[in-house]
């Protein structure tokens, strides 16, 4: 078990390093010129050359990579060429916003998965319609779901806000997660308001993964219920709901968890789009503005943070699974 965990951790580090190398290389050797973005299109050739030298962009690529790595260990991700502030500062400001959105999206995806799995195992005409609606929603791009949410729950019904993180000022709490901050500060009105703000964007990102996990969960449960151990449990007089709870759900949850790890990667990329729609000042919005300004230091840093998060989550999922399900360790 310990060996498996160490193995997974070491390979996660290798994957992260190669990701770093890949993103660094394309961001420096790609076609977009960061200095032009920094100085503007009308800068003179001398000014460009001087800036190139000052930013270290005239060095060979591997020297630059060494400098980047050294900087990284000190928390220095270079200068954001569009805002002219250190990228690390820009990131620190925005990570809590994306973290809050992502956490709620994962929570909603899991809740939806269990609810939808129930809907998937039903039989009959109504159930078929429900399945069709769910499958369609899961096929739609996140921005369409977000748009539908805005039109229905904000414009038509006026139930939920559709922009920003709160109607009050930014939270001065320590976590930077507004809902949690509101609760910790004993301010339920603030927490409730922040929750209402996070509801639509998080749901827009959660529906796709929720449906995907639900399908696997429903299939797994129906498969387990036909298995030998379910028969045995039945013959021992256990009720059907006990069998689902104690045996089937457990066996079905390990593929579902594996899929959750993969789905979180897709969710992170839909968050980039969703943040844009809901003016959510997180990494996604920063990425979009960095792209339009050809601010490659920022682009590289944001993809590293999101990519690192994805690798971290998948490694954790694998290790948790190996603890729960011994079959995972053997392979």
């Amino acid at each position: 078990m310990v060996r498996f965990a160490i193995d997974r951790t070491v390979s996660a580090v290798v994957v992260l390093f190669v990701l770093l190398l890949l993103i660094f290389t394309v961001s420096r050797a790609g076609g977009a010129d960061p200095v032009r973005g920094y100085l503007g299109a009308n800068a003179s050739a001398e000014a460009v050359a001087a800036a190139r030298e000052r930013l270290g962009l005239d060095q060979p690529l591997f020297v630059q990579f060494g400098q980047y790595l050294t900087g990284l260990t000190q928390g220095d991700l270079g200068l954001s060429l569009s805002t002219r502030r250190p990228v690390s500062e820009e990131l620190a400001q925005r990570i809590p916003a994306t973290a809050e959105l992502a956490l709620w999206a994962i929570v909603f995806a899991l809740i939806l998965a269990v609810v939808f799995a129930g809907a998937y195992s039903l039989r009959g005409k109504v159930a078929a319609v429900i399945r069709f609606v769910l499958f369609s929603a899961a096929s739609a791009p996140a921005f369409l779901l977000a748009t539908a949410g805005v039109l229905l729950l904000f414009a038509q019904l006026g139930w939920l806000p559709a922009s920003g993180r709160t109607s009050y000022g930014p939270s001065d709490g320590m976590t930077g997660l507004y809902v949690l901050d509101g609760i910790l500060a004993g301010n339920p009105a603030y927490a409730w308001d922040a929750f209402q703000h996070v509801l639509l964007p998080a749901l827009a990102a959660a529906i796709g993964p929720g449906v995907a996990i639900a399908r696997v969960l429903a299939d797994g449960i129906s498969g387990s219920l036909k298995s030998g151990y379910a028969q045995t449990a039945r013959s021992l007089g256990e009720s059907e709901s006990t069998i689902v709870r104690r045996h089937a759900l457990r066996n079905a949850s390990s593929p579902a968890l594996t899929l959750l790890g993969v789905q979180i990667g897709m969710m992170l990329s839909s968050l980039v789009v969703v943040e844009q729609i809901f003016s959510w000042n997180g990494l996604g919005q920063y990425l979009t503005s960095a792209i339009s300004a050809a601010d490659l230091n920022a682009v590289a840093a944001i993809s590293l943070v999101l990519g690192g998060l994805y690798i971290l989550i998948n490694t954790l999922v694998d290790i948790v699974l190996a603890i729960v399900d011994p079959r995972v360790r053997l392979t």
């Binding site: 290798v14 994957v15 369609s136 096929s139 739609a140 390990s254 980039v272 998948n314």
Partner: protein, 291 residues
């Protein structure tokens, strides 16, 4: 070292959702999806030839709602005909997605075949690299690459292709290894066929169709990814009729003229949904027929 752990047999079967009853025919829903898909493809091919508006020249009063005479799907904030732009957008999206899928599938097939056929250290190295790429968060890496190459449709296509080929390399390697041990290959080998000839004449004919079927069903996912990239500004700049770009540009009018953003969004969703439905049906039917 394992970059991706092997799936347990239970996970392996569970991760491909099975339909309760194996069947040999499409359901009505899947047949409708197939016709929709065919219709969309035909529309993307011939639509621009018969369109009577230009996608990049204003053709009417701005902000006409869908159903207006002469503008079935309405006009946008600049008076462009949305229906025309969606048809052109479909053409661009489908063409780009097919290109990306074909390039990735060919690259994956070549690498997977070499890995399986040559074996040994080359196999290990190639599969390590493949696993490494599979462990990346695909869309995020595609975004980073496309942004670094400078925002344009071809950058996005390159970005997606870079993260898309490993799936086909894995699939091809598995298939080649499976087929190479089958009786007909054994017989060919007995009768003296060796090397590339054995591969091309006896192994690949059973491998290529499987990979192509899988790849063709992935076109929908590529359309979605391309649209997301275009939505955040990684595509051809306006006024190009790209579906993702149209949807994101329409967002600022969402409360006054919802159709500017929603119509292109629905077009993308329709493509993705049709591909997913046809894919589900095809997988079930092929499995029932013993593939």
């Amino acid at each position: 070292m394992l970059f991706l752990r092997e799936l347990t047999p239970a996970e392996d079967t569970a991760l491909v959702p099975a339909t309760p009853r194996p069947r040999r025919h499409f359901t009505i829903g899947e047949a409708i999806a197939l016709f929709t898909l065919g219709g969309l493809i035909v529309l993307a091919i011939v639509g621009p030839l018969i369109a009577w508006y230009s996608p990049i020249v204003p053709s009417g009063v701005p902000f006409l709602p869908p159903g207006s005479s002469g503008h079935l799907l309405g006009t946008d904030n600049l008076g462009f005909d949305i229906g025309t732009r969606v048809v052109f957008g479909l053409r661009i999206s489908l063409f780009a997605a097919v290109t990306v899928t074909v390039i990735s599938a060919i690259a994956g097939m070549i690498l997977g075949t070499i890995a399986a056929f040559v074996g040994g250290w080359l196999d290990s190295v190639l599969m390590r690299v493949t696993d490494l790429f599979l462990a990346f968060p695909a869309t995020i890496v595609a975004m980073a690459i496309a942004a670094s190459l400078g925002a344009s449709l071809s950058s996005s296509m390159i970005g997606i292709a870079v993260v898309w080929w490993p799936m086909y390399a894995r699939l091809t390697r598995g298939e080649v290894r499976r087929v190479i041990n089958s009786p007909h290959v054994e017989a060919a080998r007995m009768s003296g066929t060796r090397g590339v000839r054995l591969l091309v004449k006896h192994v690949l004919p059973s491998v290529v169709p499987t990979v192509l079927v899988t790849a063709s069903l992935d076109v929908g996912a590529v359309v979605l990814t391309l649209a997301s990239l275009s939505f955040i500004g990684l595509g051809t700049p306006a006024p190009a009729p790209e579906l993702g770009l149209m949807a994101s540009a329409g967002m600022q009018y969402i409360l006054s003229a919802w159709w500017i953003a929603v119509v292109p969004g629905v077009a993308i969703a329709l493509v993705a949904l049709a591909f997913n439905y046809v894919g589900d049906g095809l997988r079930t039917v092929l499995r029932a027929k013993g593939f």
